[in-house]
C-alpha cells in the first residue's frame, strides 16, 4: 500500500516530564490501528537523531501496548535541567513537540485514523481518539 509522510503529531500525542537532567516523553497513538506504525518507526534511533543537538547519553523506549503508548527516557538532554540550564524552558516542557515533529510514513489506508487536518479533503473525518476500543 502507498505510504504518506506525515509528522508524528498527526498520529500521536504526548507530554514531557523532567527529573534533573533527564527528560521523559510519552507518545500515545491517536488510534489503535496506528500502533504498529509507531512501534516500527518511532524507535530509539529515530528519537536519538531528532535530539542529536542535545547529545543524549542514552535513549530508552518503553512500550505499553495495552495503552497504545510508549515512553521515551532521554538522559542528559536538558543542559543540566532546572538546576543549571540557560534555556527559558529549563524543564524542557516543549520537547514533546520536537519529538512530535518526527516525520513518519503512514499507509494510505490509515489516513482516516490521523488527527488534525485531513490530507485528503474528500475524507474529512480523522476523528481523533473517539473511536478507541
Amino acid at each position: 500500500m502507498k505510504r504518506i509522510e506525515v509528522p508524528l503529531h498527526r498520529a500521536a500525542h504526548g507530554r514531557t516530564g523532567d527529573k534533573g537532567n533527564r527528560s521523559n516523553i510519552s507518545v500515545i497513538a491517536w488510534h489503535p490501528s496506528l500502533w504498529d506504525v509507531l512501534v516500527e518507526q518511532v524507535t530509539e534511533a529515530a528519537v536519538a537523531r531528532q535530539f542529536a543537538h542535545r547529545h543524549p547519553s542514552r535513549v530508552q523506549r518503553f512500550l505499553l501496548p495495552q495503552l497504545h503508548a510508549m515512553n521515551f527516557v532521554l538522559d542528559d538532554v536538558l543542559d543540566g535541567g532546572v538546576n543549571e540550564a540557560l534555556n527559558l524552558d529549563s524543564h524542557g516542557k516543549a520537547l514533546s513537540f520536537l519529538l512530535l515533529d518526527l516525520p513518519i510514513e503512514v499507509p494510505e489506508g490509515l489516513l482516516p485514523c490521523l488527527a488534525g487536518a485531513a490530507i485528503d479533503p474528500a475524507d474529512p473525518n480523522p476523528s481523533p481518539g473517539d473511536n478507541a476500543p
Partner: protein, 461 residues
C-alpha cells in the same frame, strides 16, 4: 449507586502557584456525593521547598505555602461541615507554622478550630543530620552551601495522623502520591506491605498530583486536542475502591475533559521505567495497566501491580550555586532577525570571558535549542520580522553576573537600530543533589499541634 466503601480524594492544587479557586467545586462535589472524602493540595515542586527555606530564614514564622489563606479560606467551612479531611504538603519548610496559621484562620472565619496534625521528620537540614548527609553524599557534599535537605516521606505518618483523628494533616516534603495513599491506607486499613493495593493507590495519587493536568489542563492543542471551558477547569477527583483501583472524574458543571487520552498523558508524566515507578511506599508497575473510559469525564484505571518498596528514602539537598542573569531586547520590521543576530554578536564580544552566553532569538529559534548554541548555529538566517533577543548566563559572583544586564541595557544607544523593550533580571540559582538514606535513620511521625494561643482546647467556641 456507589458502594459505601469508596473513598473519594479530590485534588485542588498541582503546584505552588496553581489556581486558588479550584477547590470550591471539588469540595462541592465531594460533599454532594456524601461518604468518606479527602481534599488534597500538592504544592511542593522540587525547588519550592528550598525557596520556602530561604523565606523562613528571612521571616522565621514563614516558610510555608504563601497562598495558604487563599487556598483554604474558600473551603475550610464546607470541609469541616461535611467531614472532608484535608491533607497537603503546604507546610513546606515550616509545617508547624502552617498549622498555626490554619488554626488562626479558622478563628478568623468564625469556625471551630479543627484537629490539625503535622508530619515531622522530613527536614534533614539541621546540624544533627549532617553526618547522615555526609555519609550519603560523600565527596558531593564538599563545599555545598546547603539551603534545604529533605527526605521524601511516605504515606504511613499521614495514615497514622488520620487514624488518630486528624481533620487536617500538614506535611512538608512527602512523595506526591503519598498524599493520596495515606488517606487510602487509613480508610481501608490495608496491610502496609500490601504492595498491589499500595501501588494502585499510588497511581491514583499520581493521576491527581498535578491537579488539572489529568482533566484537560496542559493538554489542549487547537484542532487536535480541544478542551472546553479551560478558564474554569474542573480539578480531579479519584474514586478509590477497596482494592485500590480508581475512577478519575471531575465536578459537574466545570470545564475541562477527562478521557482515555488525558489520563494516559498524565499516567506517563514523569515516569521512567513504567514497571518501576519508585515511591517511599511501593514500587508501582503500570506495565499492564488498563485505562478505560467508563462514562462522560469518567476514566477507570486498573491493572496496576506493586512490588516491595525501596529500602532507602530519597533525599534532595538544595544548595546555592550563584546567579542567573538574563536580558532581552526586541527588534521588529525589515531585517529584524539580522539586527537581533548582530546585537547577539556585540554582546558575545563585550561579555567574552564571563562564561557560556546563551542566545535565543525568540520568535525564530528558542526553546528547542541547546545552551551550547549548536542548534542556533545550524539555522540559516531567516527573515523573521518580530524577534526578541534573549541572552543568559550563570555566574558564581553577583557582580560579574550583573554585567550582563548593563550590556543589554547599553544596546539602547550602542546596539543595532530600533531595539526596544529591554528587560533584565538577576536571580539566585539553586542546585539539587539527590541521594538515598537508610529508612531507619530517618524517624518520621506525626504530632498534633495545640489548637492556639488563646483557648488551647481545640473545642468549638
Amino acid at each position: 449507586m456507589t458502594p459505601p466503601s469508596i473513598l473519594r480524594v479530590g485534588c485542588a492544587a498541582g503546584f505552588s502557584g496553581d489556581r486558588t479557586d479550584a477547590a470550591a467545586p471539588v469540595v462541592g462535589a465531594l460533599a454532594a456525593a456524601g461518604g468518606p472524602a479527602v481534599l488534597i493540595f500538592e504544592t511542593l515542586a522540587e525547588r519550592t521547598l528550598a525557596l520556602a527555606q530561604l523565606a523562613r530564614r528571612a521571616h522565621p514564622e514563614g516558610g510555608y505555602e504563601p497562598l495558604l489563606d487563599d487556598l483554604l479560606s474558600p473551603v475550610l467551612a464546607a470541609c469541616l461541615a461535611a467531614g472532608i479531611r484535608i491533607v497537603s504538603n503546604f507546610g513546606a519548610a515550616n509545617p508547624e507554622g502552617a498549622a498555626m496559621r490554619i488554626a488562626a484562620l479558622a478563628r478568623e472565619l468564625g469556625l471551630r478550630v479543627p484537629r490539625i496534625a503535622i508530619v515531622v521528620g522530613d527536614d534533614l537540614s539541621g546540624s544533627a543530620q549532617r553526618p547522615l548527609l555526609e555519609a550519603a553524599l560523600d565527596a558531593r557534599m564538599q563545599g555545598l552551601d546547603i539551603v534545604s535537605a529533605n527526605a521524601y516521606v511516605g504515606a504511613e505518618p499521614i495514615a497514622d495522623a488520620l487514624l488518630a483523628g486528624a481533620e487536617i494533616v500538614v506535611c512538608g516534603r512527602v512523595a506526591d502520591p503519598s498524599l493520596t495513599v495515606g488517606p487510602a491506607l487509613a480508610h481501608f486499613g490495608w496491610a502496609r506491605d500490601d504492595w498491589d493495593r499500595l501501588a494502585r493507590a499510588t497511581m491514583a495519587g499520581h493521576l491527581l498530583e498535578c491537579g488539572a493536568q489529568v482533566s484537560g489542563g496542559y493538554y489542549a492543542d487547537p484542532g487536535f486536542k480541544d478542551v472546553p471551558g479551560m478558564a474554569r477547569l474542573g480539578y480531579p477527583i479519584a474514586e478509590i475502591d477497596a482494592d485500590g483501583h480508581c475512577t478519575i472524574t471531575k465536578p459537574p458543571g466545570t470545564g475541562g475533559r477527562i478521557d482515555a487520552h488525558t489520563v494516559k498523558e498524565q499516567l506517563l508524566y514523569e515516569v521512567h521505567d513504567p514497571a518501576a515507578y519508585l515511591t517511599p511506599d511501593v514500587v508501582a508497575d503500570i506495565g499492564a495497566a488498563q485505562v478505560e473510559a467508563v462514562g462522560t469525564d469518567r476514566v477507570r484505571l486498573s491493572g496496576v501491580r506493586g512490588h516491595p518498596r525501596p529500602p532507602g528514602l530519597k533525599v534532595n539537598v538544595c544548595h546555592e550555586t550563584g546567579w542567573l542573569a538574563e536580558g532581552e531586547i526586541s527588534y521588529a520590521g525589515a531585517r529584524a532577525e539580522a539586527r537581533a543576530r548582530l546585537a547577539a554578536d556585540v554582546l558575545r564580544e563585550r561579555l567574552a570571558g564571563l562564561g557560556r552566553l546563551r542566545v535565543d532569538l525568540i520568535g525564530a529559534h528558542s526553546l528547542f535549542a541547546d545552551d551550547a548554541g549548536e542548534w542556533l548555529a545550524a539555522q540559516p538566517p531567516r527573515e523573521a520580522r518580530d524577534v526578541r533577543l534573549r541572552v543568559a548566563l550563570n555566574h558564581t559572583e553577583r557582580a560579574a553576573a550583573e554585567r550582563l544586564a548593563r550590556e543589554v541595557t547599553a544596546l539602547y544607544t550602542c546596539g543595532p537600530a530600533g531595539g526596544g523593550g529591554v528587560r533584565t533580571s538577576l536571580r539566585p540559582r539553586l542546585d539539587i543533589v539527590s541521594c538515598s538514606v537508610p529508612r531507619e535513620q530517618v524517624p518520621v511521625g506525626h504530632r498534633f499541634i495545640a489548637s492556639g494561643p488563646a483557648d488551647g482546647s481545640g473545642a468549638a467556641r
